[in-house]
Every structure is written in structure tokens, then in C-alpha cells.
Symmetry: C2
Subunit: 210 residues, 2 copies
Amino acid sequence: MPRPARVSADRILDAAALEFSERGFAGARVDRIARRARVNKAMLYYHFSSKQGLYRVLLRRTFTLAAERIRAIAASPASPADKIDKIIAGFAAFIRERDFFPAIMLREVAEGGSRLDRETLLTLVAVPAAVAQIVQEGVARGTFRPINPLFAHLTMIAPIVFYLAAGSFLGEVGALLTHLQPLAADDFVHHMQDVMRRALAHDASPRQTS
Amino acid sequence: MPRPARVSADRILDAAALEFSERGFAGARVDRIARRARVNKAMLYYHFSSKQGLYRVLLRRTFTLAAERIRAIAASPASPADKIDKIIAGFAAFIRERDFFPAIMLREVAEGGSRLDRETLLTLVAVPAAVAQIVQEGVARGTFRPINPLFAHLTMIAPIVFYLAAGSFLGEVGALLTHLQPLAADDFVHHMQDVMRRALAHDASPRQTS
DNA sequence: GTCTATACTTCGATAGAC
DNA sequence: GTCTATCGAAGTATAGAC
């Protein structure tokens, strides 16, 4: 029984994810991707139109999966507060299943998304849209204070991406700074859930003056 | 009176900041940097040892200035809460004086700081160290709740970098999502100050159960 | 300090056999 | 579907005159 036909294409995508996340699009080398996938360059070009094309397929696939997962949470029957909790945990979990994701996302943000085609871009916008909808629902119900939904989205997503992108590097920094045990990712997720609960709660923190 | 000698070197650094922020180290082109600085390539190599060398000088200069500004705030006589406020505002102001900064920082994080030399890395670590010290002081005084200082640092810095890196791109996303007026950077700074005040405040947000 | 011309290398992509 | 060999463009860096 022969191996399934798409095996090598999948291996190429996996290798590309690694290479692009480590070096960025411009720094990635097609030769290295091929070698890592244990195919030769011609094979790569047989499956994918170009370096750009390979990159686009990878991003589209990944961002679509991420958006789906977030949308599923947003569509579930739960309180806005619970949904925010779950989105934070779900997003972190999604990343930890694919550690190539945060570095690529960071670089895309750095580039203003200029390398994303329109379709992928629209898919990706579904994530902040879902978060915004939840926030607005919470505000409408009176369980959240009034807050700019896009601000809320950035506040919860950015630290997670940073934290998980930094990975071992952050561990070194942390070792220089704290005497705490190695920073566990789960702890950070809980921290961010806590932060967002407080950020969205109807006023509880006392103002000093007036 | 002849022009000062370092004029062209400074122009090269300015051009390099732009080019590196738009394209990353690997995507940056020495020819383009030279053209943007209105010098020729040979001139660039007369002032700087290599593309790498130019990049390092740029980063060292920028990160040193950033660390100095944060340290000055940390050393000032103010309450921990005020210092956090000022660091958020000061960091955002620093970035807005150099819009090349966030994209470069994002890419460095994506790469795990592998392109920074040891000296620059140590300089940069001074920033989270300063924040951590303030947080710990607040915790010791009992004005902040116990919190991992490195978590606190990430929570406040990452969204600012994201927000200011995304710039116009975020504007488009925002236009698709909200009917609010264009997101002003000042509003976002206030938002993050608010978030951190709440995140650090001694418990005010009510827990649902138990 | 400044410029032109060019050496040398790397890299994306393809041709063409099997 | 898979491989070897190679082309041609682009890119970093330098030589050497002024």
C-alpha cells in the first residue's frame, strides 16, 4: 500500500512553519525548508507556486483555524465574562499547539499585515470582531463597564502573543530578575484572565481623588 | 564653514531605522538604506562595518535611550502607582518620537533577541527590571496586590507596542469593527493606565462564588 | 570623505530526465 | 511524483580613483 499522496506537501508546510517562524519571510530559505521537510526543492515547487505562495497557504490555514476556534467560543452559550475567560485560555492553547504561531504573528503585525492577501485578512479580522461583540454584549447587559472593544481585544491578546513568542528567552530574563520558579504558561493565562476580569468589571477600583 | 563630519552617519542611521522597521533585518537592503540616506553604498561601509554592525549600533543607541528614560521615571520620587502611570505614558511617548521602534522590537521578540549583542541585551533588561522593582515596592507597601512582576511588565508593555506598531493598519481594522472615531493613541494610553491600576489594585473586583 | 565599478555569493526558480 | 543540475537575478561587500 503506497503512502498517501499529500504526505510530502504536509511535511513541507510543517517545515515552512518552523523556518518562517525562526527567520521571518525574508530570512527564510527555500532550500532549508526543503531539507527540513526531507524533500528536494523541485518537489517544493511542484506543490507550491513560490515561496510567497507557500507562505500564504500556511498563513491562511493557520489563521482560519484560529478564527474558527475563537468564533466557536463566541457562539457558545455562556456569559460574556466566561467567554472572555475561555477566549484567553483557548487562544493560548491554540498557540501552544503550534509554537511557530506567535513569532509569525508578531512579524505580520510589524509589517502591518502587508503580506496577507485580502481573504486571509478578512478571516483574521473575525477574531477581534468576535471579541468586540462579546465586550459589547457585556456592556449592554451592564456586566461590563463601557470600554472600547478594540482596546479590550488588544489588551488581552498582545501579552499572550508576547509571552508565548518570547518563550525560553523570557525565561532567561526572568531568571535575571526574579527568584521565582520558572514562569509557567498556565500561570500567565490565569493572570491575564484575572487582569481582564478586573479591566472589564464595573467600577470597583477606588479613585484617589474627586 | 564645512558641514559637521557626522552628518552623513546620522542620516544613514535614520534611514536604517526606517528600512529595518519596514522590512526587518533580513528584508532590509543596504542599497535602499544608502539611497534613502542620500549617500552611496561605499559611504555606508565607510561609517559602519557591515549591515549587522549598522543594525547593532542602531539598536544599542535606541534601547539605551529607552532604558534611560524608564530608569529616570523609576528613580523619581513618586508613589509606585504614579510611577506605573508615568512609565506607560513615557514608553508610549518614546515610541511616538520614533515610529520605527515598535516594528523592530516586535521582530526582535519574534527572534528571541538572537541578534542583540550581550551588552545591548543587558541594557534592555533594565526596563523590565525597573518595572519589577516598582511593582515589588508597591506590593511591599501593601498598595499593590501580590503579583508576578514580570507578568505585570508584559501586561503593560505588549499592548502598547502592538497598538503603536499596528498604526494605520489597526485603523482599517477598527473602521471595519467599530463606528467609533479613529482610535487616538492618547486614549489607548489612558486605557492602559486604567487597566494597570485595576490589575494592581488590592482586591476590589468581587469574585462570583465561594 | 566621497564616488564608480565590480567581485563574489546566495538564493529563488526551472529545465528536463526518470 | 521525484530527482539532479543549473540559470539568472539580487544582494553584500570591496577596490581603488579622486
